[in-house]
């Protein structure tokens, strides 16, 4: 799997969890644990750099979603977002973002 694509997956999950500009520790751990348990060798440093990059960018979620074309990765991202956003109680705003991820990524599945 292309490392850049994993970074996009992490940024999409960050968009869903951090809709208001902050990501809780529980959500952060959930994203990292889910990604690292699926991709051997995924390091915490890479994860931290990706999140720093995410906060420095001001892209909408659609920009990250447009980079995802791989079918397996689409499935993985939907599961990642569900797992991480639900880790500390899914709120309504996160739910809208999650719905958007599901609608966009489900096309072509």
């Amino acid at each position: 799997m292309d490392d850049d694509l994993i970074d996009y997956a992490v940024k999409i999950a960050a968009c869903v969890c951090g809709k208001d500009g902050v990501i809780s520790q529980t959500e952060e751990h959930a994203i990292y644990n889910y990604v690292s348990s699926n991709y051997v060798g995924y390091s915490i440093d890479r994860f931290n750099n990706t999140l720093d990059e995410f906060f420095d960018e001001s892209h909408q979620i659609e920009i990250y979603l447009s980079k995802i074309t791989n079918l397996n990765l689409k499935n993985f991202i939907i599961k990642l977002c569900e797992f991480s956003a639900g880790s500390d109680g899914l709120d309504i705003r996160e739910n809208i973002a999650l719905d958007k991820v599901k609608i966009v990524l489900s096309e072509g599945l």
Partner: protein, 456 residues
């Protein structure tokens, strides 16, 4: 055809607006200290000597200092764009703090500065001059004028540093005819001591300790959470990742008043201060901005008096938190409110538990019963009918004596001076000493009985 007209503010009127931006003397000096800390100063000294015909205040630091060009740039009001990103540890915000803080307290601001490898430089903003000329006329002093300046403390031996001098002080206006300038100054410096010791307490200890002085007296930190006192309880904590780092939330429960040592209790404003200052303690880059109050997230209550929630925010979030020019107020973003609410119940509950525990102890007292009626929410303090000594006394009395005595005890309980006890317990609980009241009572009664017998 439309055209643009010059509508720039009139300097004479604009300066008056800047003078009334709402600083207090401690908050204005703190804004200057922010700049010293950003400039990596290790020692920050405030001088304001008494008995001067024209009092002045100097704030001297040994930070990076400024070159002559940097000084002129930084003397401009709004020399930085608030939307520019700040480096971690940068306590500035709008690039207006030094000037607006100074103009709110003094009509003449002189800045001496020296950067390593550059000559000492100085510039002066004088409001009287601005008003007279109606122009932003910044006076630049030459080397001779600087070295002969009577208030210069930044001497040639110092490699680098900055000295801010306030003259023609507006902050020392006498509020009462009976007070002289020295008395007003002494009170202001005492208030300043407490303010700096609390708001910069995180800079006064630890690895990156800086030294703060007022008239050469070193300041000591005031820890609003009393983390080193016996009985302190550390609660839940959480880190939220955000742009530029983390927002850290930690909860604390102070020890009960009775377990607090006198000096730390006094420094936190006594028992009254403890109750009033419950709530959120918000730090921006380790500098305290909001000291207490629940910002609408919870109600202030006597039982929640010991609850404190510490929130550490990086300066990269200034835009989202709407930090103002004075850096003395901010607004909580909605998501943070939501996260904070999760944390509030824990320290408040534990604070209540500390109080409730004390209540149960009182209930165990063999002389008094506390009756708490859960249904109608009524609490009453009653003399315990189970007390052995009372039973023995009553056993030795005849029927009419018993009736008079029981009536007296009932009146004693009914007339317990609750309001007075509440007030004194809130203000100065340590002043209440009940240990020798039995001796005093015996003495008084014996005296009266002896006198009555003697008269007979």
């Amino acid at each position: 055809m439309s055209y643009f007209a010059d509508a720039s503010p009139d300097p004479k009127s604009h300066i008056k607006t800047l003078m009334r931006i709402g600083y207090t003397m401690p908050s204005a000096i703190s804004d200057i200290i922010d700049n010293s800390l950003t400039a990596n100063a290790s020692n920050i000294s405030i001088y304001s000597l008494p008995s001067l015909a024209e009092p002045n205040i100097s704030i001297l630091d040994d930070g990076d200092g400024m070159s002559p060009q940097e000084l002129i740039h930084n003397m401009k009001i709004g020399c930085k764009d608030p939307s520019d990103e700040r480096l971690r540890g940068d306590l500035g915000r709008f690039g207006s703090g030094m000037k607006t803080a100074s103009f709110s307290q003094a009509r003449r601001l002189t800045v001496f500065s020296k950067r390593q490898g550059h000559p000492i430089c100085a510039a002066v903003w004088d409001i009287d001059q601005i008003e007279k000329e109606n122009t932003w006329c910044l006076e630049i002093l030459d080397e001779n004028e600087i070295l002969q300046h009577p208030l210069l403390l930044l001497d040639k031996k110092m490699i680098q540093g900055t000295q801010i001098v306030w003259e023609k002080l507006a902050c020392l206006n006498k509020t009462s005819h009976s007070l002289d300038t020295d008395t007003v100054l002494a009170a202001a410096l005492s208030e300043l001591d407490s303010y700096i010791s609390l708001h910069f307490h995180k800079f006064m200890e630890g690895k990156q300790k800086r030294n703060f002085f007022i008239n050469s007296k070193e300041l000591h930190p005031i820890d609003p959470f009393m983390t080193k006192s016996p009985g302190y309880q550390e609660g839940r904590s959480e880190k939220l990742r955000c742009k530029g780092g983390y927002i850290e939330i930690n909860t604390h429960v102070l020890p009960h008043f009775k377990r607090m040592e006198t000096k730390p209790l006094e420094r936190l404003g006594g028992a009254n201060g403890i109750v009033q200052n419950q709530g959120l303690y918000i730090y921006r880059e380790n500098r305290l901005i909001n000291a207490g109050g629940w910002l609408g997230l919870a109600k202030t209550s006597q039982l929640g008096a010991l609850a404190r929630v510490e929130v550490n925010v990086p300066s990269s979030l200034d835009q989202e938190w709407s930090t103002d020019v004075k850096k003395a107020s901010l607004q909580l973003p909605p998501r943070i409110k939501k996260e904070l609410r999760k944390f509030l119940s824990d320290p408040i509950k534990r604070s209540k538990r500390v109080y409730t525990y004390r209540g149960k102890q009182d209930q165990a007292n063999k002389y008094w019963d506390i009756q708490e009626n859960e249904t109608n929410k009524v609490i009453s303090y009653q003399i315990s009918p189970e007390n052995e000594i009372l039973m023995e006394i009553l056993g030795n009395l005849d029927k009419s004596q018993k009736s008079v005595f029981i009536n007296y005890l009932g009146q004693l309980a009914e007339n317990l001076p609750l309001n007075h006890i509440y007030q004194k317990m809130s203000e100065s609980p340590k002043d209440i000493v009940q240990e020798n009241v039995t001796d005093y009572l015996l003495e008084s009664i014996m005296d009266k009985v002896f006198k009555a017998n003697f008269n007979e």
